[in-house]
């Protein structure tokens, strides 16, 4: 059986800031043929999406979590994600507005990466690539295929 469309790579991003959600969607625009950005606006919604992934459903190729979110913050979500065996191979990035060394340490403790939110566009243009760098080699090649 052949597929009409190649399978999409899901980038899952949780952030309560609508402006940042929009900017990250925009940052992945160049990869829109190969990447689908799915978003959540708080930690509980993020966790609910991830918990409800069924066997056979595509897993996100990367999970990006804002730290300061209502209901459940990004660090809490990260800890819960690390309890989910089926997500063990999925890279997680804590995406924060400031570069707090304690947050970086926390990310490392839970096998996650840490990226500071850009302040201006020049940095923003590179952000999708910085996220993709953390994907596996196979996913990276698939995403960058035109």
């Amino acid at each position: 059986m052949t597929q009409a469309h190649p399978p999409r790579n899901i980038v899952f991003y949780a952030d309560d800031d609508q402006d940042d959600l929009e900017l990250v969607r925009e940052a992945f625009h160049n990869y829109s043929d190969n990447v689908e950005v799915i978003t959540a606006t708080d930690g509980a919604e993020a966790l609910s999406y991830l918990k409800n992934i069924n066997e056979g459903d595509p897993l996100p190729c990367i999970i990006i979590l804002d730290i300061n979110m209502p209901v459940l913050n990004g660090k809490d979500v990260l800890m819960k994600v690390r309890e989910m065996d089926f997500l063990v191979e999925v890279p997680v990035i804590l995406f924060s507005t400031s570069s707090n060394p304690m947050d970086e340490l926390f990310a490392r403790r839970f096998q996650a990466h840490f990226i500071t939110k850009p302040i201006v566009a020049e940095q923003m243009g590179k952000i999708a690539d910085r996220f993709i760098e953390h994907c596996t080699d196979e996913i990276r090649a698939k995403i960058r295929r035109r």
Partner: protein, 81 residues
């Protein structure tokens, strides 16, 4: 670094310093445009955007604590929502 030394930096240098070392305090709207307040060493820097994270209108660097007021007001309001 002191706030008057920060003011002497180019825009590129200000962005680099904030990106590397600043602590995020809060976000608000000023005349409908976004602003972000950071703490850097012993002073504060408010970044006023023309377009969020795309074009910066200006930086306000100060050690005057009243710059925190609108952000603290926001926290008070949010805690009641």
């Amino acid at each position: 670094m002191k706030y008057n030394e920060f003011e002497e930096l180019s825009e590129e240098e200000k962005v680099a310093v904030l990106y590397a070392d600043a602590l995020y305090i809060g976000k608000r709207k000023v005349n409908g445009r976004p602003a972000i307040l950071y703490q850097l060493d012993t002073f504060y820097v408010e970044v006023l955007y023309l377009k969020y994270r795309k074009y910066i209108a200006r930086f306000i660097a100060t050690d005057d604590l009243t710059i925190l007021d609108p952000y603290l007001e926001q926290i008070k309001i949010e805690s009641f929502v």
